[in-house]
Point group: C2
Chain length 349, copies 2
Amino acid sequence: MLTSSDIAREAGVSQTTVSRVLNDDPRVTKETRQRVIDVIDRHGYTPNAIARGLVTSRTSLVGVLISDIMNPFYPELLEAIGSQLAAYGLRMLVADTASQPEEVHARLLVEHRVDGIVFTSALLDSQTVASLAARRFPIVLANRYVDGVECDTVTTDNGGGAKAVAEHLLELGHERIAVVTGNEKSSTSRDRYAGFVAVLEEAGVGLDPTLVRTGDYDYERAHATTVELLELTPPPTAIFCLNDVMAFATLNACRRLRVGVPEEVSVVGFDDIRASSYEAYELTTVRQPLGELARTAVDLLAERVAAPDVPPRSLVFPSRLIRRKTTAPPRRAIRRRTVAQADGRRANG
Amino acid sequence: MLTSSDIAREAGVSQTTVSRVLNDDPRVTKETRQRVIDVIDRHGYTPNAIARGLVTSRTSLVGVLISDIMNPFYPELLEAIGSQLAAYGLRMLVADTASQPEEVHARLLVEHRVDGIVFTSALLDSQTVASLAARRFPIVLANRYVDGVECDTVTTDNGGGAKAVAEHLLELGHERIAVVTGNEKSSTSRDRYAGFVAVLEEAGVGLDPTLVRTGDYDYERAHATTVELLELTPPPTAIFCLNDVMAFATLNACRRLRVGVPEEVSVVGFDDIRASSYEAYELTTVRQPLGELARTAVDLLAERVAAPDVPPRSLVFPSRLIRRKTTAPPRRAIRRRTVAQADGRRANG
DNA sequence: TGCGGCGCTGCATACGTAGTCATGGCATAG
DNA sequence: CTATGCCATGACTACGTATGCAGCGCCGCA
């Protein structure tokens, strides 16, 4: 491979000058610059970012940690992050923590001296995040936060979104509601569940513990769980899945069992990934402003790299309920709802 | 950041010895090694892969070029590639050519001195691939090949898969078949289309040119195209989409227009991505052995990095038709098929 | 006891670039 | 005409690691 010295020799200048040309240093004559550029073009020389990184201790590389690239939520997030990084001249080093533990990936990223790391799937007790934050390595938590760690964080209002779901379902008259939770160690699942329960309790509508199942944000698991739920007597009238992928699994399980949605059971998801709006699903769900979230996360990271000493910032973006066609009043809701309202709700209100 | 010299000083050894410990060099006493490891652990030292890369001219980084990360096919492929790379101790530098031209991404990857590049979405006339191959830079084409370029290539038998689709549809009695093609400059789309047409022609079943539309492997575009196709009189009795994502679009368009699948129109896809088997679609499609494809691509690349002078190899994996529920005989097929068979097909057989 | 050999360690250097400091040329001001 | 200063350029060095080569001590064999 050619080096800048090779180019310099051929152009009759010093390696320093070549370096200046490559970095758009203004103190190079137009003629000299052109001469160097000609030689570069002629030979197809490519500067060595490794050597540059060694000197500048900047690599223009940013690690992005993902837990499950098969979940379409993450490609959507990745795309947004990637394009915003590109705006800063940065590149993504993607690592899927499905293949190896988060810690291993993070260590390798640090070895490669990435300028920073974006965590999209950190768990609440992530030691990796804690230790990196303690060492003041530039990181940003996008989508999920970590308990007890002070660092730049960008999330959606998961609690608020789940509350909107609860209000929506209550409004429709549902009282026997199942919840399929996500990864129990994720802040998203915890916050969504907490927000949902809070509204239900306030309304005096209890959540039957046997109707709360963990789906681990996993399609297969949620599918199996839904089958179990639908075989209960009586089955729930509504199922709130804490992400869209699990909601798809639920909808598909309903199809398999020939359970009508929303006639027999309402289904709600969370995320509003692209496929949620497809005719195959038309899922009622909660929209996250993914673009803004990603953009802000990258902005924060870039700022931190530039100024490591600014205090950590946490931003929360609002979420929004998107009503589509998977929610409706429960069967025989008219009667039951009136009774319920006359009895339970007023008594508790 | 700590350096190996810092560790060396503290452990009372030379930087060389620290380097040897890190690289599992056998000629270091057990005691010395332990002493060094202790210091490393105590300080949380992380070796600098940049500096290492400068010396060894190996980065353990492999670039992976993707055209559209939102197409679930690519996350599936990515996951397979990533896990196989991990087996070699290599890491993925993912670049989505949706954000910037392939050429720009490739240049940056080369600047970062990646050990090699996996192209998953190269177009038939890719200058980037041609120039890299000419410079003997280690690359491998996975999924798609490039015309006139000799380099390691791993593909699925796209022509064969499409032929199986054609035979399947003919067997069911379809004669008015629409095709929604992919990116016209991709080898996959070209080969699939060619294989499909070949079988139809051999059977004496013509392909009405107005029924051949480009969908560019894009969901939205295929959705709109399907609407147009279904509004024709008479509409096609079957639609072959050259990938699954477009087939989903077609199925969803059918849902929107309340066109029964497979009663009124049969739909076939290609790829067999995960969602194709979901109850929402149950798509008849062609399965690609994605795991094998990815694994082999990485193997080839690794071998080429080790031995740059071995002649390029091209491997083609068989594809397989997966019959699900989106294909059936056309309406009034019994009569029409018999007539057709008695006339056209026998006359041409 | 002497010498060769082996096992362990350290010294010095190279990798390709960016940046610091020095140099020489030229113009402008005194 | 000289002094000052700026501009364009170049020599030199550092970045952190790996590696070739040298050194040193110890063991075994003659």
